[in-house]
Structure formats: C-alpha cells, structure tokens
Amino acid sequence: MVETKSARQRTNSGPGRLLIAVYLLFAIAATSRAGLQLATKFDEAPVAYLLSGVAALIYIVAAVGLARAGHTGRRVALACCSVELVGVVAVGILSLVDKDLFPDETVWSQFGSGYGYIPLVLPVLGLIWLWRTRRAPA
C-alpha cells in the first residue's frame, strides 16, 4: 500500500501504467479506424482520414514513450502529448468554424466529443504525469 511520492518515479508504473493502458486503447481504436478509412474511402475526406492516421501514430508513439520510460522515452512522450494537445484544440476549433474541412469525424473533431472528450483530457494528464515524475532538481 506504499505509494511512492518520489519525484523520480518512473513513467511506466503506478498511475503511469493506467495512462499507458488508455493510450494503448486509443492507439488501437485510432489505428484500426484510420487504417480502414484510408484503405476503403480515402477520396471521400482525405484531410480527415490523414489526420486520423497521424493521430493514431501519435497515440502509438506516446504509449511506447511512456512505457519505455528513461530519458528518451520521456522526451518522446513529452513531444507526443504536446502535439496531441495542440492538435485536439486546433482541430476542435477548426471543426467548429469550418465544418467542410472535416466532412467525416476524426478522433479530434469537436475536441474529441465522439470519444467522451478523452482525447482532450489525455494529453493534459500525460503532461501532468511527466511533470510529476520529472527529475528532482539537484
């Protein structure tokens, strides 16, 4: 029942493992959906489907980064979470302003409302987690 309060807790244990699990679920969901869309009806909404593909890739890389922990893993996860946050906010705004840009739903449309807004919350949690597990200042 000991909860490590250490600032040097690795990113891939404790709450981090839960975060990785959710990232994995999103990686699976986004990858299969994007793969299907790109393979079967790319012409209908190329921008939306390419974006889905990019989002899927980022979820995979973020999950791997968090799971690998270590210095490189952290930097990879940090980059992914930042891109995700910017992406979900930008696409969220764009999808409200200009509906024609994304004729079909993507993971990030309407701030991820189709996925219970988890795409919006996830990168924030990721960044908080990376911050809390940062190296204690010497």
Partner: protein, 133 residues
Amino acid sequence: MVPVTSVGADSPVDGIVATVPIVLSLLVAVWALVAAVRHRPPDRMQFVGLAVLEVALLVLSVLALVAVGGGDRPGEPGAFFGYLVTLVCLPPLAWVLARMEPTRWGSAIVCAVCLVAPVVVVRLQQTWEVLGG
C-alpha cells in the same frame, strides 16, 4: 457520447447475447473502481470477472461468425470485424496489465478497460446495422 440505437431483430449481436457482456463488464468496472478507491490491488474477483467477461464475449463473437457463415452480412464489414477483434482482446489486455501492476492502479486499469468494452459492444451493434444518413 455514443447513442444507443435499436438494432434489427435479425442482428446476431443484439438482445441477451450483448446485454450479458455489457452488464458483466460494468459490474467488473464498478468492483474494480471500488478496489482502486480503497487502494486495493486487483483481487481474485476482478480476474475471475475478466475471465467470465471474455467467455461472454467469445460467445458473442461465435454467434456473430455463425450468422456471417449463414449468409448474413454486417452493414460495415470492415469496421464490424475490427470491433469484434478489438473486443475479444480487451479482457486479456486488462488481465496482463493488471498482473504487471499489483497496486491500486492495476484495479484502475481493469476499471478503465471494462468501461470501454460496453462501448465497443454498442459500436458493434451499430456497425452491423448501418443506419440511414
């Protein structure tokens, strides 16, 4: 926000065969949530729950495949089979991760995965019967 849609009577993923895994999954989720809140690692009950859930999902899958073998076709075959494969992989995923994390967070993982599974079952129903529009 996943709207629950009525599925035609001929759908093999409707009725009791879908209701049982949904209810089971939610029960395990609640049980795991209570454990996580109480700082408890995944207990035997959660693993048994995951195993029973997996059996229920396999029954659902077999019935769906039998229907497909019998000539029925899902509205969106690609998405339908994608969801089906994902669905049967969820309990094992939760199992493995929960084994790796014998803390309250392991229980939290079981809870999270068991909240996702019912959503996937509903999506499965929606992709069998494509609704107009």
